[in-house]
């Protein structure tokens, strides 16, 4: 293997990212889900920092710091508080049972790897082989959003998808311009707070965070 050690570490972190995506898919409890999300953010921040260091792209340091502050500290803290206030740490209900979820997940991974192969050959970055993993994380997070019924896991799925996209940007083009990244980070942050307020309203109206109730348009 001819890769340098820091790139091997980036590859390892990419693998851990995928591992955490699968762990999130199989996690039954919301608190566990939030912890996993924080770990995914940590892996993402570390890999971004290593890419920044090994390629000399200084703006990636800011992205790494932003990821660390938002996705490892702020958002998990916010979610933990939310879960405590809403008292919703029970088993997460899934549409499909967990093994089926995992099987669909592995099909998605194979699909993503194949899809990314020609794209990554076109990319000129040293980290291009991790593009498949980034794509797979996006699809897995998407699957999680589809398969979960409750509101908080769906939002965490959305944020995990953002993690995957961010990783894809880092591995394909060494990240987006800083302005774009700042904008996305702000959007995500605001989005999470808005959704947090939504949770309270949803629960007040329906006495539950199960979004299936929202499919009925009729007034009770």
């Amino acid at each position: 293997m001819s890769l340098t050690y820091h790139l091997q570490v980036v590859n390892l972190l990419a693998a851990i990212l995928l591992l955490i995506a699968f762990a999130m898919l199989s996690q039954r409890r919301i608190v566990g889900l939030i912890t996993l999300f924080a770990w995914q953010g940590a892996a993402l921040a570390t890999s971004t920092a290593i890419v920044a260091w090994s390629t000399g792209q200084h703006h990636l340091y800011y992205s790494a710091a932003l990821t660390l502050a938002l996705k490892v500290v702020a958002m998990p803290w916010f979610f933990f508080r939310l879960v405590r206030q809403l008292e919703v740490d029970r088993e997460v209900e899934t549409m499909l049972n967990i093994p089926t979820n995992m099987l669909i997940g592995i099909v998605l991974v194979i699909f993503a790897f194949n899809l990314a192969l020609p794209i990554s050959q076109m990319a000129g970055t040293v980290t291009r082989s991790t593009l498949g993993i980034a794509l797979a994380s996006v699809l897995l997070a998407f699957l999680m959003m589809i398969a979960r019924r409750k509101a908080i896991p769906q939002v965490i799925g959305f944020l995990a998808m953002e993690n995957g996209l961010f990783f894809a940007a880092t591995s394909a083009t060494y990240g987006m311009p800083l302005v774009v990244e700042l904008g996305v980070a702000l959007d995500v942050l605001v989005g999470v707070f808005v959704l947090g307020i939504f949770f309270f309203h949803i629960r007040e109206t329906f006495d539950s965070l199960d979004l299936a109730h929202m499919e009925k348009l009729k007034e009770h």
Partner: protein
């Protein structure tokens, strides 16, 4: 060649001696973590001695198979322990079985265990045997996937080649092995009847898996089975070391680094035993019907390991 045979015998004897000590060490760590006073390190030896001095009691209906099974299980485990490189790589026994045959060897011991459990015809024996088979048929493919991931890296299913490739050639980080390591941990808890799949210290017959199968054994038969259980845990630990932390195992024919290899092995077993005790303390035993899901996850992680190998390690 003679040096190789001597070392092979020494490594096998070391496995026989260290296996009960490993169980004793895990029990001590568990006791510490759970705030109980710890049993002595040599407690498994005391139990074995006590059991060997007792007279065996057999059920009236016991067939010769029931009496033969403990010897067979013990022999399988000794052979497995002899095959896995723990101190020196590429000893004379190693070519006897590659990783696939090794899985077969474990399966052979399991078949005898299950047959012997059903032989007496008690309810708990059959119940344990059925549960063991349910767990085993899910654990085996996952274990094979873990081995295949390592085999893809080293282009060989022979353990000496795998260790040689991972330990003695240019150091590289293999992301696929991260998946394989998690899968291996999950499989080995199932195969060694540890928490979260089974509880080795349980007294409740209805929740037993492995213990239910050996309820009818006594004295020397029970001692052999207990020793085989210890050997199995040791073999799995050494397998994990050989696949994921192989640094320290002496290269083939390199006899000067033997003391270092021994020290490395002991340190790794101490750390591994403590880690096992920690994982057993923070996890609760799961319901039996969660076990297929748990092992299905292990299998998927093994497959993912192979996929990431193709993606990231060209």
């Amino acid at each position: 060649m003679t040096a190789g045979i001597v070392l092979q015998v020494a490594q096998t004897l070391l496995a026989l001696l260290l296996a009960p000590l490993l169980i004793g060490w895990v029990n001590i760590c568990r006791a510490w973590l759970q705030g109980r006073s710890a049993p002595p390190l040599l407690q498994p030896y005391y139990s074995l001695r006590k059991l060997f001095h007792k007279d065996a009691t057999l059920a009236h209906e016991a067939s010769p198979l029931f009496r033969f099974a403990p010897y067979m299980i013990f022999a399988c485990m000794v052979l497995a322990a002899a095959i896995v490189p723990s101190l020196v790589n590429d000893l004379p026994f190693s070519p006897a079985a590659d990783v696939i045959a090794l899985v077969g060897l474990f399966a052979l011991a399991r078949v005898f265990q299950a047959l012997a459990a059903m032989d007496i015809g008690t309810a708990f024996g059959s119940l344990g045997a059925r549960r063991e088979m349910l767990i085993a048929f899910l654990a085996e493919p996952a274990l094979l996937m873990v081995f295949f991931t390592a085999s893809l890296i080293s282009q060989s299913t022979e353990l000496p080649h795998i260790v040689e490739r991972l330990a003695h050639q240019e150091f590289a980080i293999y992301p696929s092995l991260a998946f394989a390591a998690v899968a291996f941990w999950m499989v080995s808890t199932a195969e060694n009847a540890r928490v979260p799949v089974d509880n080795p210290t349980t007294h409740l017959e209805l929740t037993m898996i492995h213990e239910a199968m050996i309820l009818e054994y006594s004295a020397r038969h029970l001692a052999l089975i207990e020793w085989a259980v210890a050997l199995k845990l040791y073999t799995y630990s050494v397998l994990g070391i050989a696949l994921f932390l192989p640094w320290g195992i002496a290269a083939a024919g390199d006899y000067t680094s033997l003391p270092l290899a021994l020290a490395a092995l002991v340190v790794k077993l101490l750390l591994g035993g403590a880690a096992l005790a920690l994982l057993e303390t923070i996890n609760a035993k799961m319901r039996l019907f969660r076990a297929p899901e748990f092992l299905g996850t292990a299998f998927l992680l093994g497959v993912l390991g192979m996929l990431t190998h193709f993606l990231l390690e060209p």
